[in-house]
Assembly symmetry: C2
Homo-oligomer: 240 residues x 2
């Protein structure tokens, strides 16, 4: 892991860009010298780690005493895409504009994306936990499909917060039953592109004994700011 | 309003029993001399104001700077019941033991109970707001059906937290559309006696622009303790 730049933010959080082989990442660490629990955070459907909302959430969380990391995993963010991937994304845009059903297109594109992304997240987790000042346990926040696959494979993930607004491939809907860690699931009640019933069914499917759903009125990007506070409190209960 | 007994609790909260005409009530007030926002709290389906879980919630909330009040409204708690009411309750027990559908029995018994209870709550609200040290705005917590009717009639109710595990009569399911104050709705995901879909439909029906559903795994009485903290934070956003 090689750090390529750093800046100290107003609240003392250190924000560092890194590369790990081909994987570009960002690590936010709190001002405190105490070893901090780690939270991995991924944006839905492979959106870039530099997306403003993800960065804002990461900075807020780091300021409350967590190490937070995000990467552009294989096929995600600004990483190169395969011809098949580019074609699937073009087909998705076309189908959405035409108002056609998009489930099959999403499946063909998000399914492989999750499969490709998760090994990079595991490589990153190994590297992060070898850094001084970053301790366990480890939480995960954000993109549901990657989180399910990661939690199913990775016993080091102790708690997860999922945003329900995103396509979850068939394989991860099946894997959901194997997830037993504490979960917080955020659902936007009027998220037009993401059927509400499917999100409720997924919540129902998780095998966790402790799982909480927070649903709020509003569309895909309308999650209220207080849910970020609630998410930090959720991690406080499980990672401290 | 006549106070009939008082005790000072360990955290400085003053717990006083009162009577207001035929209405028996309890008022919890915080140690602070600042005027406190008021929260009315009612247990589902007319259970007594002295029920242990209601008292524990009220004490916790008062210790965080709120005046909290509960009453046994007409027909509720230890108040006298009409012969029709006694008969409906006997029929409910019989139907539940026999595993028969109970919706009609609930409707015949909870519908009139809500109609009778709400005037007592309004009388109590008037009296409480005339006491020194109790300010507005006013919140409501607990029994959904009474809360809907009260919020529909009472512009002084500024925010409400409802527990979804209880029968909501047809009239209040209709009135739900007229409710526009901020809401927090608590749902137990596996509450056997209370159909989940009906609770989700009710949440959907509320006219409020800001409404949040918290659903947790478990049965009727299994609401996790952290939901009490969340409820206090919800009131902190709307009554402070």
């Amino acid at each position: 892991m090689r750090f390529t730049s750093e800046q100290r933010l107003d609240d003392g959080v250190l924000e560092r860009e890194f590369t790990l082989g081909e994987i570009p990442g960002t690590l936010w660490t709190p001002a405190s010298a105490e070893p901090a629990p780690l939270i991995l955070t991924a944006h839905n459907n492979g959106l870039p780690k530099g997306a403003a909302r993800l960065v804002a959430r990461a900075r807020y969380t780091a300021a409350r005493g967590y190490a937070v990391a995000s990467i552009d995993a294989a096929g995600c963010g600004d990483r190169p895409r395969s011809a098949a991937d580019e074609q699937a994304r073009a087909e998705l845009r076309r189908a959405m504009q035409a108002g056609e059903p998009v489930d099959e297109v999403f499946e063909s594109f998000v399914g492989p994306l999750v499969e490709q992304a998760v090994p990079d997240w595991r490589t990153t987790l190994d590297a992060l936990l070898s850094l001084p000042g970053i301790g366990g346990p480890v939480g995960y926040s954000g993109w549901t499909a990657v989180g399910i696959r990661l939690a199913a494979l990775e016993p080091r993930i102790a708690a997860a917060s999922f945003f329900a607004g995103g396509y979850v491939p068939h394989a991860q809907r099946e894997e959901a039953r194997r997830i037993t860690i504490p979960l917080l699931v955020l659902l936007q009640w009027n998220d037009e592109g993401n059927p509400r019933q499917r999100a409720l069914d997924l919540f129902d499917a998780f095998g966790s004994k402790e799982k909480t759903l927070h649903a709020n009125l509003g569309g895909h990007t309308g999650t209220p700011w207080f849910e970020l506070e609630d998410t930090v409190r959720f991690f406080g209960r499980h990672l401290r």
